[in-house]
Amino acid sequence: MTTPAALTELGDTKKSMKRPKGPSPKLSPAARRRSLTGWAFLLPAAALIGIMMFWPMFQALILSFKTGRGTNLAFADPLWFNYTRMLHDEVFIQTIKTTMLYLVIQVPIMLISALVLANILNNPRLRFKGFWRTAIFLPAAISLVSYSLVFRTIFATDGLVNDWLLALHLIDGPVNWLGQPGTARMVIILGLLWRWTGYNMIFYLAGLQNIDPTTIEAAKIDGAGPLRTFFSVTIPQLKPMILLTVIMSINGTLQMFDESFNLTQGGPANTSMTMSHYLYKVSFQNNPNFGYGAALSYVILIMVAILAAIQMKVGDKRD
């Protein structure tokens, strides 16, 4: 999970990298012992991250050039066989499109709603502030599997949503929400909005509380209206937090699995399936193919890296 710490820290690390070198390269015995103690303190975490994240990432690259079933693997001929196979894999291309659709529709709506809500809740004169904040944040305490199944029940053909819409005479007959490509994707997007808007709102609230109120006062004295103040004073100061939530959301959407697996089971006809769900199917279901799965995982890795890099660049330029 990501925390606001990341944000202040990203800037701080740059600063400390530029810190001048110590007074002398030769350390006293006590200082050297202390430095070694410091390394010993870092060792368990660094070793775990190395073994559990960097090493598997490297292994996945090698694996992505191999083919075979189960554990019986050999280097492919040609080496890039798994990667060329993707180009003709209609299901994978479909999952990329679907994941991008989720990204393009859900992320902007969610982040703008979170920003608006945080701005309303940040008003010191607002009553029942604690209640609103808890209510809106509560969905984030529920597991992805749990809410996926609740949404699946609510949006079932004989479920709550159809019952209410029928009672209100908004539809003529029950809608098969999860059985049609368009509505199945829509239910997933609604689920994501429900689960994550409050979560992002908390980050914006933390960011808003760090804004110096005198800058807002100054804007008011200069004659700026509330909207103008919001866009010209508040938003620029929130930019690091906005950047963080954008990266987190993009990253999360590209790796999405639980909703696709539990809410729609990828259906109908794979139209709501995400990339990670397909990767799971290729690697662990029916005829497991680790090599092809690893190649797919590298495509996801590259997509995450590119999008994060673009976001960093865009975020930097506006500074």
Partner: protein
Amino acid sequence: MTSAQVFRGLREVPKYAFLTIVAAVSIGPLYFMAVSATNTSNDVLASRMLPGSSLIQNWQTLLGQQDVYAAMYHSTVNAVATTVLALVVSSIAGYGFEVYHSRNKDRLMWVLMLAMMIPFAATMIPLFRLFANFGLINSVWAVVLPAIATPLLILMFRQSARSFPHEIIEAARMDGLGELSIFFRMFVPTMRPTYAAAAVITFMAAWNNFLWPKVILVNADYQTMPMLISNFTGGYVIDYGALMLAVLIASLPTIVIFFVLQRSFVAGFTGVVK
């Protein structure tokens, strides 16, 4: 009240109406889940929104179909072990990065932060093979080890170590306290809010983790709560009352922890963000 005050009050109405709708939409599905846990499957499908009297019957149906106790036990062991180990390993690393600061340690920090960009999907298959080679499939270690050290938790602790006065450390050294004792006796007690915040996010993430346990816990005997409720829908006839009860049970620990630690959670984050 003057007319100006009344006018101002009226202007506030849309805002509160909006917040009420948002809050209702947020709580609605959770209310439905809680109410449905006490209703029969037919009542759930009939969209009954009032508490029923079938809680015990749903509980018996659930126990008849699923080993809830075992799943709760495995989820608890996994989540508690992950949280405890993650707090120890990450806080000691965060403290180490800040207190024994050096140029090379900064470089290492930068490398570790790159790990944040690695999607889990890219490490899942090799991790599975790694644990398979060591015969650790279906073991707690396979669930816990990959979740212990996360760059973000280290960042969080390093950031709070920054506000820890170095004079205290110097004074403790003068008094002849060892480096480890300084950490455990001085740093850990002072940083309670940060530990609480870190514990909440780690426990929630570990408790709710689904994909990795599903991959590595091959044997159904070792299944966790998220796996149990996911498998629940695999049958031909789904008992929705029992399903919603299972979902409610699986969600209770994280909801309770969220409410209990909410105060220190906010305090912990404020300390970190400053």
